[in-house]
């Protein structure tokens, strides 16, 4: 068989998602962000909601997400995407709103905004790309950086005494009555990618059904700042991040005890 017989349009199983624009992505080769973008774009297309979806991009490597998915976008200040999304969702209840945020953006500078938006149960989706590091600014420690992990600001490894502990923010989010679906996914294999897409689709559906906030963490790699090849980075993630951030659903439907939230009678 000739190479041209294999690389041939009729053999295509996957193609570029229709809503991914032709703008060249600025992500490093091997970065998880590009894969997650593709999944979000496919879900928006599958659900037929291109005309009513509004995305909110973060400050972080995904700041330019608005150049890559062909929908209306707003670019938020660092960490403020959940507040921006609240403003959109509250005044535009007919729209589908999502934020796309990194771990520094969501779990550090924007910790207050994400907790309160989720606690209010804003009808929106949060895509949380946790690569355990500040990718955009050159690989400094993030709140999610593992103990012992080397970064530009923890050159000898993160030390609990000096730097505190890695923050399992998704576990906190799952406690909040405003969230309906909280899950942790990854995109290092075709199987994981397919599962992650299903989770993102479910999250968007829940927001469209006005079930409150849906939250999808994607445990990710930053091969550039981890200073690894993409393949090695995936291995490192599975070996070191999965034990601390285990993939799987944390909350599916309303599991909070409604009795603890009975309002006072006036």
């Amino acid at each position: 068989m000739e190479l041209a017989d294999i690389i041939n349009p009729k053999n295509l199983v996957y193609e570029k998602p229709k809503l991914i624009t032709s703008t060249t992505m600025h992500y490093c080769p091997g970065c998880s962000h590009g894969v997650v973008h593709n999944l979000v774009a496919e879900v928006i297309e599958d659900l037929g909601i291109q005309e009513k979806t509004i995305g909110v991009s973060p400050v972080g490597c995904a700041v330019f997400a608005y150049n890559y998915i062909d929908i209306d976008w707003q670019e938020a200040a660092h960490g403020r995407a959940p507040a921006v999304a609240t403003g959109i969702a509250r005044t535009n209840p007919d729209k589908v709103v999502f934020t796309y945020q990194g771990d520094g953006d969501l779990a550090s500078i924007g910790a207050a905004e994400i907790l309160h938006a989720c606690n209010r149960g804003e009808d929106m989706v949060v895509i949380f790309v946790n690569n355990g590091i500040y990718g955009m600014t050159g690989g400094q420690m993030a709140p999610t950086t593992l103990l012992g992990q080397i970064t530009a600001t923890t050159p000898n490894g993160r030390d609990a005494g000096r730097n505190g502990y890695p923050l399992k923010i998704t576990e906190l989010i799952a406690q909040l009555p405003g969230t309906s679906y909280v899950t942790r996914q990854s995109v290092q294999t075709p199987g994981a990618i397919r599962k992650c897409k299903k989770a993102i689709a479910k999250a968007f559906q829940a927001a469209m059904d006005k079930k409150g906030t849906s939250f999808v963490e994607v445990v990710s790699t930053c091969n550039m700042n981890w200073k690894m090849t993409p393949v090695k980075a995936n291995e490192w993630m599975v070996e070191n991040m999965f034990p601390f951030y285990p993939p799987g659903d944390l909350k599916d439907g309303s599991k909070n005890d409604p009795l603890s939230y009975t309002p006072l009678k006036n």
């Binding site: 291109q50 005309e51 009513k52 979806t53 509004i54 909110v56 700041v63 608005y66 150049n67 062909d70 929908i71 209306d72 976008w73 707003q74 670019e75 938020a76 200040a77 403020r80 507040a83 921006v84 999304a85 609240t86 403003g87 959109i88 969702a89 509250r90 005044t91 535009n92 007919d94 729209k95 207050a112 905004e113 309160h116």
Partner: protein
């Protein structure tokens, strides 16, 4: 004529917002302006006009909620007092950088720090010179009565949408808390989704339409040449405001030999000072800037050609005086009289200052 009522300045902001067809309010409690949100929550406009009212977790969140709603073409406002406005500085800079219209009400209190809950005008620099990072300006309106608290809500929105720029009502605790009679505006309906699309569809993120490019609201531009072009465009916008939107009031300036310059609460005091001075035979007038940005440079420069001096009266250590000095260009003396810490000067104190610092000096 509209409905006549006796109301607090802060309550009027809420009522005027509902009546002018506002789509939403986002805020966080702080004295002396909490009545704005309290009145809104009590009025429940979501039942009446569909206006959204939300108590946010902080002023940071409030202003970014305003950003999100404004960027989808909605008419939204927030209100706060000095320490809260400091927290909003980030969001205000982003709103200006993304060219978004909105209304911000600052019912000032004394500072720095937690300061005092009493009235002050110490946020003049913060409001008129930027406040947040980057080269930007707000349209700043300074009401001196409860009636103007009402009128400047619609005016602020009108200017904000005309220029796609945030507008601010710079009030203070005295006007926010004071009760006066006010003629309320008539109800204007909120814009429908179709009307928003017609008016603001060229930029608002109201959902990607098949017949247009995606609308993207951002203040980010990595290409220096394009960023400079953006900055130049902003500056042209501010220059146009300076040419077309200046508002001020002159009281007994025709024959005046000396001029008081004061805005907001101070200008109310100064009206009385003018009467006291005239009884003493001093020909005193008052120039009250209504827009603090754009600042009424020309009328002040014109007066400088024929009067003997200016006394700038502010409830701060001397902020607006810098703009008056720039307008006067050393033609005649410009001196300052201010009280701080939440103290409102008395009319006779102002006249004494005039006699000591300007006439006798």
């Amino acid at each position: 004529m509209g409905e006549l009522r006796l109301m607090k300045g802060n309550e009027v902001i809420a009522e005027a917002a509902i009546r002018c067809g506002c789509d939403g309010y986002f805020g966080y409690p702080i004295t002396p302006q909490s009545e704005v949100m309290e009145t809104l929550m009590d009025r429940e406009p979501w039942n009446e006009t569909g206006m959204v009212v939300l108590q946010a977790e902080s002023e940071i969140a409030s202003i970014h909620m305003v950003y999100g709603a404004a960027a989808s073409g909605k008419k939204v406002l927030t209100s706060s007092s000095s320490p809260g406005i400091s927290l909003m500085a980030e969001g205000i800079s982003y709103l200006a950088g993304s060219e978004l219209p909105c209304l911000i009400v600052n019912v000032q209190r004394g500072g720095p720090g937690l300061g005092t809950i009493q009235p002050s005008q110490a946020d003049y620099f913060q409001s008129t010179k930027g406040g947040g990072h980057g080269d930007y300006r707000l349209i700043v309106l300074a009401p001196s009565s409860v009636q103007e608290m009402n009128d400047f809500v619609e005016l602020g929105f009108k200017l904000a949408f005309k220029y796609r720029n945030p507008a601010m009502i710079l009030s203070d605790g005295a006007i926010g808390q004071m009760m006066e009679k006010v003629v309320l505006a008539d109800f204007i309906p909120r814009l429908t989704a179709e009307e928003i699309d017609q008016k603001y569809g060229s930029w608002a993120t109201n959902g990607r339409k098949p017949n247009r490019k995606p609308n993207i609201i951002t203040s980010l531009e990595m290409d220096s040449a394009r960023m400079e072009a953006n900055n130049i465009r902003f500056q042209e916008k501010y220059a146009k405001m300076e040419a077309e939107e200046v508002l001020f009031e002159e009281i007994q300036c025709e024959d005046a030999e000396y001029i008081l310059v004061a805005f907001g609460s101070s200008s109310r005091i100064c009206q009385k000072s003018v009467d006291i001075a005239r009884e003493k035979g001093i020909k005193l007038g008052l120039l009250r800037p209504i827009t603090l940005f754009p600042f009424p440079k020309k009328p002040i420069a014109a007066l400088a050609k024929r009067v003997k001096g200016f006394l700038v009266v502010e409830m701060n250590a001397g902020q607006m005086i810098e703009d008056v000095q720039l307008a006067v260009r050393c033609d005649v003396p410009v001196v300052h009289f201010g009280r701080m810490g939440g103290i409102i000067p008395s009319p006779s104190e102002v006249v004494e200052a005039l006699e000591q610092k300007l006439i006798g000096g």
